[in-house]
């Protein structure tokens, strides 16, 4: 049952599901595209969450009631064809698996370091949501053999490009930032660049796989 909830005075939340499921991010992305097409001029921002879509709107142009009315036909058709016609992209991302926590993660999971890498690379992940920091894409679902709680004390600085895991998720830190996840490796790509269009290659619903590279390949890709 889809619900609409005001979020403050200038935003409306569309609650699309109570729990996430594998196809939900791409269905929400399809809805976001349709909403942008139909209601774009009224909107300031459109933020997909795990189970929701938040519409930040211009209060001088519209209000909750009018938006709800205009959303109704879009929601009645959702997920429908819009979700099927949008084919999510697949990204193959190189990782130098030499992260600070690789040995500790292996020990905690009862696996060898090679097994941790193999298990992490064996899953095709989906981008669930983008938040926390510019271009920070939450990828799910992590293999149950690698599930660990967040670190008790977050690091004050995690290097840019760090590949990390926590709970049922994995992600790459696009910028150097504080972080409480376990670091498995480094990605040589810039995952957020304000000068690029689009600034972030990953979108909710996209599919992601990782493949291991060595130190020399990492340096070559990072330099290029």
């Amino acid at each position: 049952m889809i619900r609409l909830q005001p979020i403050g005075a200038q935003a409306l939340l569309v609650v699309l599901a109570e729990q996430p499921y594998p196809d939900l991010p791409s269905h929400i992305a399809a809805l976001a595209a349709a909403v942008r097409r139909e209601l774009g001029p009224w909107l300031v921002d459109l933020v997909p969450g795990w189970t929701t879509l938040l519409l930040h709107y211009d209060l001088l142009l519209t209000d909750h009631a009018q938006l709800a009315e205009r959303l109704a036909p879009l929601l009645a058709r959702w997920p429908g064809e819009a979700a099927r016609e949008r084919s999510p992209r697949r990204h193959e991302i190189p990782i130098w698996y030499a992260g600070k926590d690789l040995a500790e993660v292996a020990r905690a999971c009862g696996l060898s370091q090679q097994e941790v890498i193999a298990v992490h690379c064996a899953t095709e992940y989906r981008v669930g949501a983008i938040g926390f920091a510019p271009g920070f894409a939450y990828l799910g679902e992590l293999d149950s053999r690698l599930v660990l709680p967040r670190r008790a004390t977050p690091r004050t600085r995690v290097p840019a490009g760090s590949l990390a895991i926590a709970e049922r998720q994995t992600a790459i830190y696009p910028q150097a930032s504080p972080g409480g996840w376990h670091l498995l490796g480094r990605c040589p790509w810039r995952l957020f660049d304000a000068e690029r269009e689009p600034p972030c290659p990953l979108q909710p619903g996209d599919r992601v796989v990782f493949h291991p590279i060595d130190a020399a390949q990492f340096r070559a890709e990072a330099a290029g």
Binding site: V47, I130, F132
Partner: protein, 304 residues
């Protein structure tokens, strides 16, 4: 381009505009001025458009020198304002000629002031905005999220205005008065009993507060369990597991999973931003429709 030369940057002086909107789906914080009312008045006094690039100067101790003849407006915290050795009034516009120095002393009440220049500062945008976001390294003079420092050149064009002007007295805020901040309750958030306790209790503003969040200290509330992360708005009042509420401010994140108590009135976020650490704070409920009416009035007046 010529402009104004920064001689003292002070503790934290940032280039801002209306904010970096349109990129929250990629996790980019909107940023922008913490006190939208004072910022809007500073631009208004000079006939600038809404959101023209201006400075947010926290705590004062700031100095600049004019390399062009222009006009400035200063609105916000009560700081001594001097052009060379002569005092100028707060919440007003005044001329600054080539070679003259503007100096702001330390704030006596309020936390930040807004310094606008006629025509706005002419700075290249990052993702459509000059708003400085230090955590994300976006915006500001060089586009990398830096605060202003001595030696920086703030580009602007020469300008001449017909004469002095001030904000009408009824709109000037006295930051010494204890604020009572208005909150729209979230019917889907914390239990009604917890909401009532929030309104009944006295809170103090934690010194850990920053441009991202204002942290409230007091007898803890009982939060409900965390939920799946969803988009958040400025003024969202989150209640993390320790029961101490956090009001999300201009440099907020785009998503959050903590249970919500409600949302601070967007115009009262301006007042909260002017409170020093350890300020006593009280909150009272306000209806969503009233907030929307007041916001529309505000936007119609300032955005036109």
């Amino acid at each position: 381009m010529s402009g104004l030369r920064v001689l003292r940057g002070g503790p934290l002086s940032l280039l801002q505009d209306a904010g970096r909107f349109g990129w929250q789906h990629l996790g980019v914080s909107p940023s922008g001025p913490l006190d939208v009312q004072a910022a809007a008045w500073a631009n208004r006094l000079l006939g600038n458009r809404w959101g023209a690039p201006l400075l947010e100067i926290a705590l004062g101790d700031f100095e600049l020198e004019a390399l062009v003849d222009t006009w400035l407006a200063v609105c916000g915290a009560d700081m001594p304002i001097k052009v060379d050795d002569e005092l100028r009034p707060n919440w007003s516009r005044f001329a600054l000629r080539v070679g003259e120095r503007l100096r702001l002393g330390f704030a006596r009440s309020g936390q930040r002031t807004y310094l606008a220049v006629a025509g706005g500062f002419r700075v290249a945008t990052t993702l459509g905005s000059v708003a400085t976001q230090m955590r994300e390294g976006l915006g500001g003079l060089a586009g990398r999220g830096g605060a202003l420092r001595a030696g920086d050149l703030l580009p602007c064009l020469p300008a001449r205005l017909p004469g002095a002007a001030s904000v009408p007295g009824a709109f000037v805020v006295d930051y010494r008065a204890e604020p009572c901040l208005r909150v729209m309750a979230d019917p889907n958030g914390l239990a009604a009993g917890e909401r009532q306790r929030f309104f009944e209790r006295r809170w103090t503003l934690s010194p850990q507060s920053d441009r991202m969040g204002a942290r409230l200290l007091g007898e803890p509330l009982s939060p409900t369990p965390q939920q799946w992360s969803q988009g958040v708005v400025g003024g969202s009042i989150q209640v993390p597991p320790d029961g101490q509420p956090i009001v999300l401010m201009a440099d907020r994140q785009t998503m959050g999973g903590y249970p919500l108590l409600g949302w601070l009135h967007p115009l009262d976020m301006a007042r909260l931003a002017q409170c020093p650490a350890h300020s006593p704070l009280r909150f009272r409920p306000v209806e969503l429709l009233q907030v929307q009416d007041e916001l529309r009035q505000f936007y119609r007046f300032f955005r036109g």
